[in-house]
Amino acid sequence: ASGDPLGSGSSSSAESSTLVVGSQDYYSNEIIAEIYAQALEADGFTVDRQFRIGQREVYLPDITSGKIDVFPEYTGDLLQVLDDTATSGTPDAVYSALTKALPSGLQALDRADASDQNTWTVTKAFADKYNLTDIASLKNVTEPITVGGNSELETRPYGPTALSDKYGIVTAGFKPVEDGGGPLTVKALEDGDIQLANIYTASPAFDSGNLVALEDPDGLFFPSNVVPIVSAKVDDKAAAVLNKVNAALTADTLVALNAQSVNDQLAADKIATEWLKKENLI
């Protein structure tokens, strides 16, 4: 793999001072990565952006092998991938579990308040009709509930099985919509093709007010706070920069940033610069 001529092998390049920042193939993640990158640059670091490098299954090997130095991740999501026996808990519990589960050579910096986590979401109309507030209240529903989401949702510990095991809510079937809770899923909800969907909390789809994320008092879902996963090349100085930025990233901030991307159709670097300036971070 190291002999790969076209590949991503900047780790083998000579400039050891360069930090490689990566991002998922997901606009929200790219914005965070861009924020990290600009903050690092403002502090004199050289940054090599390797953004939008696919889904976790694609880029994870590159993080574990140290080819990427800084990567914005989500605590709960990553923990479940690294340790499939992990159990949910408070954000801090999940965070500390993650730090233990990380392979050697990798390190999780401070987590942000901002999170982008799974929810069970229904339309506002549906929630009003059956007076839904939290997940358990789904048992009020008298019509069949069809669940929609990525394929893997079906087998996840918080999936349809958990609904029936924990809350006695029997779902009527599962329809895959492989866009990770994106616009297609939202449309399917609105069309009534599905009644219950897995949508991320930071999705700007909630902006419209037409969707309601059911509360999760029992911690069915893993809290998934934004957290930079870094390699050993990230020194204390760089870590300090990233921690400072992360401290400013609140839950509302993330939704607002996403909304800028989706509603105002701004590019990630512009959104990042604007926010960093506003927060006086650069």
């Binding site: 793999a1 790969d4 193939d25 696919g54 694609v58 297609l184």
Partner: protein, 241 residues
Amino acid sequence: MTWIWANLDLIWDRTLDHVVLSVPAIVLSFIIALPIGWLAHRYRASRGVILTVVGLLYAIPSLPLFIILPIIVGTSTRSPLNLVIALTLYGVALMVRVVADGLASVDLDVRQSASAVGFSTWTEFWQVELPLSGPVLLAGLRVVAVSTVSLATVGAVIGVQSLGSLFTDGFQRGIQAEIIAGIVATVVLALVFDALLVYAGRLLMPWTRSRAATTVTDNAAGSVSTAATPASENRSREIAR
């Protein structure tokens, strides 16, 4: 539409990425298919086997191929090389048959007269058979080019940037203009490649141009050119998915 004007540079960058991915695949498909197709043409017995095995490649869905290929080849998961290899495989699958058919389309009279005046097998291949199968090869290469460009978009799913990234991103962010821009740019790029190939064909095969101008009813020439079009169209077994 405002998105497009604000992001022309992005579209341009992705287009360049796309070119860098698809051009090597197209060229490699041709180079690799040439000897294999020649074998299939030359040795009748091997033809069935070669074409079947190669035809099997079509049936591989691209998504799993992209995932499995690095494991088999040993490249890094998100290396563009994976994509180039996969695209080349599909291109070869298409092109081998074209090469075999193209070589077979060369008029027997011409081949025999070439060897009768003293062409050796090797010289005859390069100076007679290859150029004369040019029109069929070109037709096949055009299909390969178009489908490779189309297929390269799937790279976006495995984290290799291309015009496909425009519609995955546009899709996540619900920006229709971006999705449409991605699709349109892909189609335009494919058509540009196609036009370039046609133009290259004109340059490299001047005799095919002159044929249209002539008024002489030449049976041999006529049958070659008419044989080329339907046959090669029929060979449009491309694999866009």
